[in-house]
Structure formats: structure tokens, C-alpha cells
Subunit: 370 residues, 2 copies
């Protein structure tokens, strides 16, 4: 009998930049020319059917004009495409076109595209570099920091994936102008979540500037894009592997993700999160961490952002309660929730513990009354 | 316009132990009881249909007797199961049984099981810990060090996967006694590869003790298991992300993997590698790095290990040449090969470069004459 120790301690630097601005296509190309991804000359642009004609075709064309090999790989827009099957089809298409390990993936689109393409990049040839060119507010709020990539399965959302950091993220606010209003509302749900967990100031800003934001005013949008990045960055920086603090980013998501699945993705992610935020602020109120006024303020701000604040009638409440148990945060079969403390803070239950076990009855009571 | 830097520099320790011995089931259980994977109480045993009754059922039973929650997840034995579809079916079965992020995966079996389960573990809930209980010589030689996990696709082998390090590896030599002889031969191909690239001494040992090894003599097998680990460890340690040196482990694999695919997996991995080693020693001989005698010695040792040394007649040579281009090592559309230097060494073409571009004509000439 013998024992070998395989020593693999090392320093890893996954740092990257997020650039926020209006119309960043040329900057993307010049960054690549200036060595953003080393000597790579082959680029797979991954996008969805909506974003393709709006932005991705243009980026593809600019890459080719700059002398790079590039192809575009497209899937049907929508959360229902965020599956292992779509990933497989894209992989096969890339293999067919001769893509190997000497390529870089550029994800152009919203959160579904960046989640899917980031996961694909991480497993393609055991990992090729990728760049996120985020065209939606939701991607700016949610998908640009943290390295979380994943796909959905019939039984749970975002459960199959990896942590994978991009080479760079571009947040193109100009692209928000072409978003359907519902997508803007949906992205605002994550922004409101960030305000609830970390910044009363951002909460007030949203309350006072909602119309400008909904009209894609440049300054207002740049401000919220910045704030989204700053808040998420501070949380993720302190806890990259999601052991404790990072759980606070799941505010609204325990119920939200379950609703999203039970609605069969009729609800957009942000819409589901908005309803989840309401459910979880009700829970915080019940536990005494949020006043009635603060509870009402959260619901009012969500309404101002044209987001739903009640569980739609077509949702089976019991199915929803059952679905809560598929959440990644479930431990030892117990439901666990992040709890908002007033507006702009969360409850730390013990050192480094930001979620608390909640009985099924308590969860059911709140869901049944929404 | 603004730029955020997301700073993610950190120290990562992926170190783990490899234990080599006879009948290590009890050791596995006691290691878990002693905190090998922290406080985890839920174990998914992943295995194939052949290994299940031989070893995995027993390990499952021992886990349950020790008070853990455990289930077994089985797929059909064979390289053709190493697919994205099998991974998906296993994931769905685990989700169905309520497995979330608070579990550990134990892979019990050969290289196909450890490759597939290691990949699955890395993407399940964005990564859960896994343990490899290797029951084959091939797994000992190939899959226990390096963290390479992957599945095959119709267009290429091992191209979809990740680097993922286990918590511990057990190499149970007692299990080799139940292997079909062909599996022992197949595993020896990787051992012979290790000898060719790094140890003339191991090469001579294999030459002098082949009968003991084929009869699973305890001492001889422990020696080669150790040597396999040592050689692979030294190479991998120096180059964990496969940038340069690690390429030498691909000796025989550029042609081998292509043959494996073109044969539609009628050839076992090791059989295909054996033929690949012959092709690549012929190439080394042609380039003047291997003498005629050394060339003959390699072929003789492969024969002694009952491995094939010629391309089977049913293989379409032109399809094989074409398939070489799907190799992960192809760069800028050019074939690249590791070149053996005598026995026990490889050619370093320039600083840190252990592969050389080979023209399609040269590759074709060798393949046509085998």
C-alpha cells in the first residue's frame, strides 16, 4: 500500500474588466487587436435569434473586417433555450466548423446568452476564453459579475453549470433602447434586489428616477449599471465560491426561481424575481426585520417598474411550495431563505451565515396569501 | 463610460491523495468518517453496469451501514456511454432523487466512469466534490492524475469537459483480477506510453515482468501503478493547465484517439493508443529521434502486452487522416505531434515546446504503411 500526494496549490488570477458605455462594438474589436485574448485569431460569436440581427451580425462583420476568423452560432431567443440540448447543438456546430481549443467565444446578448455561452466556453476543449457583450439590463445587473454560468433542466433552473470568469465584460447601454419594455422591467427586478440588500441610496434613486430609467436616459442608466456592478462586485469579491455572504444575492430568488419554473417560463426571470422579492419581503416582515412601511415601499417600487407583485392565478400554489425544495440552497432537506433587514441590508444570523431555515408551513402561508 | 476591475486573484489548493492498495473499500468509508469531504452526508455512487455488481453495490451498502444517505446511479458499461446524453440522464436521476449541492459523488469504475462522473461533479450545482475509486489499470494509469474529465461527441473524443480535481483517488489493484484480459492489455498501453516518454527503467521492468503483470501479481502491479502515478504526477505537476510539457502525455494519442473514433469504438482506448504509439514511434524514427532497434523494441513490448500494433484492415486510412484534424492539439489548422526521443524521453523542440507540426503528407505516409 502506498499514498501519493498530488500537490496542486497555486495562485490563480481570474481578474477582468467590465466596461460600461454607449455603443462599445469598436472598443471590443480594438481590445482584441490589442491582445485582450492573446494571439487568438478565431472567434465564435454566440447569440440568440433576436440579438443576432440587432448587434451580433455587426460584431461578426467587424471581426472579419479586422482580419479574424469568425462564425456566428445562433439559438432561439428565450429562457426555454437555456438547456443542455442547446449547448450540445452549439458545441456540435462549432466542432463541425473546426473550432478547437485555439478559439475565443464572444457571447452577445442578455443573461440567457451569457449564461449559456459562458458555460459552453468553460467545457469546450476543457475551457476556452470568453468575452461577454451584454445587451440587456438584466445581463448588466445579473450576469456580468460572479462567474456563474449554467443551464436549466426540467427539474431545476441553473443547477447544471460552472463558475467561469470572462476575459472582459462590455455593458452596452445603447442596446437597451432596442429592448422590449418587459425586458427593461425584468432587468430592474435585479437592480431593485441589489438596492434591497445593499443600498437604501440606490433604492431612493430608483424611486426618484424611474421614468428616466424606463426611457433609457443615458446618465440614469449608466448610474444604475454602475451601482449594479459595484454592489454585486463587493459581495462576490468577498465570497467568490458562494460559501456565505454571496447567498444574499439570492434574495427573491428562492421563491422567484421556483415560480419561474412552475410558470413554465411564461414569466420572465425578472418578473419571477419581482414576485419572489415580494414573497421574501413579506417573510422578512413576518419575522420582524422589515416595517410595514418598508414592506409597502418595496412593493410600490416594483409596481413603479411595471413588475408583477402577485403570484399569477394560473400558478398552482402547492406545486410552487414543492418546487422550493429544488433550490440549490436547500440543506439537509430544509428550506433556507435570505432575509432582508429594512431597506439596503440583510440579516446576518451568525458569523458568515446569511440564510435561515424556514419551515414549510411558514413558506406555504406566505405563498397561499399572495 | 466607466471601467470596473473585478479583482479575483487568489490561492487555490486542489491537492489530493492517491492511495494504491488491495481492497480499499473499508479505507474509503473510514476516510469519509474521518472527514475526507467535510460534513457531507449524502453520496451519489456513479458506476457502470459491469462494475456495479462487482464493487459499487458493496460500497453503497457500506456507506448505508455507516449511516450515510446514498444512492447508486448506473449507466451501460463502455466508451460509447461517455456522452453528454449519459451525463444528462445521470443528472436528471440525481435531481429526481433530491440531490443538490450538499452531496459528494463517488465514481467507482474505470476511466469511462471517472471521466464522466468527474465532469458531472464539476457541473452539478456548479461543482460538488468527488472521489475516484478506480477499479482498472487504465484508470490507474490515465485517469487518476491530471484532473482531466470529459465526454465524447460524435465529432471528437474528450472535447467537452473540464479540469476538475478529486478529493481523493483510490487505486484498488484487487479489482484488476476481475478485469477481462483485454482491459489489462488496454491499460498497459498507457503504462508503456509512460515508459516511452519518461522511463527506460520502467520500459525494461515491463519487458522483464510482463507475465507477472498479466497474472496480476501484487508486487508487480503495485510497482507499475506507482510508476504510472509518479510519471504522470511529475509531468502534470509541472504543467497543470496543459500549456506545454503536459502535451507529452499525448504520445500515441493523436493517432490513437483518431483511430478510436474511426473504429466506432470497436477498439478499446488502450488498443487504439497502442496502434497510435506504433504510428508515432515510426514518425520519431523517420525524423531520426529513435533508432531502428528502439523502434522494434517498442513494437515488441506492445506485442508482449497482447496489444495490436497495426491498423486494422476495416479502418479507412483516408478517414483516419482526416480525423487527425479533430485533435485538440491542432493549431491554426496544422497537425502537431509529440515526438519520442529514444526510450524514456521526448524531444523539446524549443523552450517549453514539446510538439512539432507535421505535414499531412508525412502523417498519411505513415498511416498508409501500417
Amino acid at each position: 500500500m502506498s499514498i501519493f500526494n498530488v500537490g496542486l496549490k497555486k495562485i490563480v488570477d481570474d481578474s477582468y474588466d467590465i466596461e460600461i458605455g454607449f455603443g462599445l462594438e469598436s472598443k471590443l474589436i480594438s481590445d482584441i487587436q490589442n491582445g485582450l485574448v492573446g494571439k487568438i485569431k478565431k472567434f465564435a460569436v454566440i447569440t440568440d435569434s433576436i440579438v443576432k440581427p440587432l448587434y451580433a451580425d455587426n460584431i461578426l462583420c467587424m471581426l472579419k473586417n479586422a482580419g479574424y476568423n469568425a462564425d456566428i452560432f445562433v439559438f432561439d431567443a428565450g429562457e426555454t433555450s437555456k438547456t443542455r440540448t442547446t449547448k450540445e447543438l452549439l458545441e456540435d456546430a462549432m466542432l463541425e466548423k473546426g473550432y478547437r481549443r485555439d478559439c475565443c467565444i464572444i457571447a452577445v446578448g442578455g443573461g440567457v446568452v451569457t449564461d449559456l455561452a459562458g458555460f459552453l466556453a468553460g467545457t469546450y476543449g476543457r475551457g476556452v476564453p470568453f468575452i461577454n457583450y451584454a445587451t440587456t439590463l438584466l445581463a448588466a445587473a445579473d450576469a456580468s459579475i460572479g462567474g456563474k454560468t449554467a443551464v436549466d433542466t426540467p427539474l431545476a433552473t441553473n443547477l447544471i453549470g460552472i463558475f467561469n470568469q470572462p476575459e472582459k465584460v462590455y455593458i452596452d447601454i445603447a442596446a437597451w433602447k432596442t429592448l422590449p419594455p418587459k425586458q427593461i422591467y425584468s432587468g430592474l427586478a435585479e437592480t431593485i434586489k441589489h438596492a434591497c440588500i445593499a443600498s437604501g441610496e440606490l433604492f431612493n434613486y430608483l424611486d426618484n428616477h424611474m421614468n428616466e430609467i424606463l426611457n433609457i436616459d443615458k446618465n440614469a442608466c449608466e448610474y444604475i449599471a454602475n451601482e449594479n456592478c459595484r454592489i454585486k462586485y463587493e459581495v462576490v469579491m468577498k465570497d467568490e465560491r458562494e460559501s456565505g455572504l454571496r447567498e444574499i444575492l439570492n434574495l427573491g430568488h428562492t421563491v422567484g426561481r421556483a415560480i419561474e419554473t412552475v410558470s413554465d417560463y411564461k414569466l420572465l426571470h425578472g418578473e419571477a424575481v419581482a414576485i419572489g422579492l415580494v414573497a421574501e419581503v413579506k417573510l422578512a416582515h413576518k419575522l420582524g426585520y422589515v416595517t410595514s412601511e418598508q414592506h409597502d415601499d418595496v412593493i410600490a417600487l416594483l409596481n413603479k417598474a411595471c413588475l408583477p407583485t402577485q403570484i399569477p392565478d394560473y400558478i398552482d400554489r402547492e406545486a410552487l411550495v414543492k418546487k422550493l425544495y429544488t433550490d440549490k440552497k436547500v440543506r439537509d432537506g430544509q428550506l433556507r431563505f435570505v432575509i432582508q433587514k429594512g431597506i439596503g441590508d440583510v440579516v446576518e444570523f451568525e458569523d458568515g451565515v446569511f440564510a435561515v431555515k424556514i419551515s414549510e408551513d411558514t413558506a406555504r402561508e406566505i405563498i397561499m396569501n399572495m
